[in-house]
């Protein structure tokens, strides 16, 4: 006898993106709407994305409506409402949490609170049939750079995280230093093509040998000094650099950041005896990181599960997908669910 499919509506508002998605049985994405990536965004005007709660408030209902329509389902077909309720910006999370609670109450469906970071890893797991445990998971984005040990698909233990800047923030700020457009991640990647990653020996901040924490602030400052001189006395050379030199700096920076992420991930793998590496988050879209991780995993006979590029940045499909496993275990939240800014 075939089990009845489980259809979950997911909502995500933890940082800049307002997103909603409908996912069936944890894997089949019926719709995934991210406000900044749709025409909806244009309707709300502005080239510069509005940050913070008001923008979420304006977009949340149209985004949910669109996700349900695109999925071709009716509210009656939805078995549960899931929402990323931590971590993030409290006032932004509040918008998603309130919308999800209201819908769960109105439709009389269970509510499932999901950790946004944990959901990023679900993007990596989504496409694979099986996963050999234990696994080491790297979440790398503009706001986070953390390593976890995954004892099961639902239980994560943090092994280390950044002590200053997140890796994605490093990409963004180095793009600014080099005069490249926002968002910095794709800009650096594009500019680094054709650049020599060995042109400049930027530091790989590994902290001490044992640590699984990250530090990217020193790398950013090293690029700054390289471009503006150690004395920082207003000699910004970037304007007079050839495109090749800028490409070389971008490539060298990218390589330093990627090397650090890979070395630390391998260190974590060895520590916990992992068989699988999971990678998710916005920076997981970076080709140099994807290729480097694949290479490292091949050499060490590990299987790599990395989020497809389309699901690296914040989205709600990952929320609805992870919620399926909570649903199966009956791990529901009460209607008193509150946003939590920190994990």
């Amino acid at each position: 006898m075939q089990e009845k499919p489980v259809t979950i509506l997911g909502v995500e508002t933890s940082c800049d993106e307002t997103a909603a998605a409908v996912v069936r049985n944890g894997r089949q994405i019926l719709s995934s709407v991210v406000a900044s990536q749709t025409k909806l965004h244009e309707r709300f005007g502005g080239v510069v994305p509005e940050i913070a709660s008001r923008a979420h408030l304006e977009k949340i209902l149209p985004v949910i409506k669109e996700a349900i329509e695109q999925a071709g389902v009716k509210p009656a077909d939805i078995d549960a409402v899931a929402v990323a309720h931590q971590p993030g910006l409290a006032i932004a999370l509040m918008v998603g949490v309130t919308a999800a609670k209201t819908l769960a109450f109105a439709w009389q469906k269970p509510l499932i609170g999901i950790n946004h970071l944990h959901a990023h890893l679900q993007s990596a797991i989504l496409a694979s049939e099986t996963m050999e445990l234990p696994a080491v998971a790297l979440i790398v984005s503009g706001g986070h750079t953390s390593l976890y040990e995954a004892e099961s698909a639902l239980e994560l233990k943090r092994l280390g995280s950044t002590i200053d800047d997140a890796a994605g923030e490093g990409f963004d700020k180095v793009a600014t230093i080099l005069g490249l457009p926002y968002p910095g991640g794709p800009s650096i990647e594009k500019t680094a093509k054709g650049g020599n990653p060995k042109a400049v020996a930027f530091p790989r901040s590994l902290l001490d040998k044992e640590s699984l924490d990250f530090s990217f602030s020193g790398l950013k400052t090293a690029v700054l000094y390289h471009c503006q001189g150690q004395d920082m006395k207003g000699n910004n050379r970037v304007a007079s650099m050839s495109p090749q030199e800028i490409s070389d700096i971008a490539a060298s920076f990218q390589q330093a950041a990627v090397d650090t992420l890979i070395i630390k991930t391998l260190r974590a793998v060895r520590k916990v005896g992992a068989r699988t590496v999971l990678v998710g988050g916005g920076v997981a879209a970076n080709t140099a990181l994807r290729e480097g991780m694949q290479d490292m995993c091949d050499k060490n006979k590990l299987s790599l599960l990395i989020a497809p590029k389309s699901l690296c940045t914040d989205n709600a499909a990952m929320v609805a997908s992870l919620a399926y496993y909570y649903y199966k275990e009956g791990r529901f939240s009460g209607l008193d669910l509150e946003p939590t800014a920190t994990t």
Binding site: I51, A52, D164, A166, D231
Partner: protein, 159 residues
């Protein structure tokens, strides 16, 4: 009368140490506005302030550039420390929409990086302004404008 204390730190470690000292003279209700270019030590100084306020895990005090606001319980839960970064914000209005009004209360200290981007939103509040600048290699020049008597004493004693 405009008063100013200027201190040069020789390393990130010294910048953190200065933050610890500043923390001892901070009180609830105060807004600390930090300005200075990329890599000038704002996050390090704040790491020190969090340490000085007995944040539970000060090594994990990190940059909120993307997440916009980090929040820590400090001084044994007596105070909340809000660490805001205005780097990505486009206007004082966006800053206000972060819920800034809710952060301004007697049992909270608010630290704002890139405060120059949203200065009008801070008008009329009790402010401590700290300007950071590069001063060659790992050195940073840190200026504290109009420090309280208590803060002046703390910093003078350590000179």
């Amino acid at each position: 009368m405009n008063q100013r204390i200027e201190i040069t730190t020789e390393s990130a470690k010294e910048t953190i140490e200065l933050g610890r000292k500043i923390a001892s003279a901070l009180h609830g209700g105060l807004i600390v506005a930090l300005t200075g270019p990329l890599g000038s030590g704002k996050t390090h100084l704040i790491k020190g302030i969090a340490e000085g306020l007995d944040a539970p895990d000060p090594t994990k005090v990190c940059s909120p550039t993307f997440v916009l606001v980090n929040e820590y319980e400090v001084r044994g839960g007596e105070l909340t420390l809000y660490h805001i970064d205005a780097y990505r914000l486009n206007s004082p209005r966006e800053f206000e929409q972060l819920g800034f009004e809710d952060f301004c209360r007697p049992d909270a200290i608010v630290l704002v990086e890139w405060a120059d981007k949203i200065l009008p939103a801070l008008a009329g509040l009790e402010l401590l302004q700290i300007e950071l600048a590069h001063a060659g290699e790992d050195k940073r020049r840190i200026r504290i404008n109009n420090p309280s008597v208590q803060l002046s004493n703390v910093l003078r004693c350590s000179e």
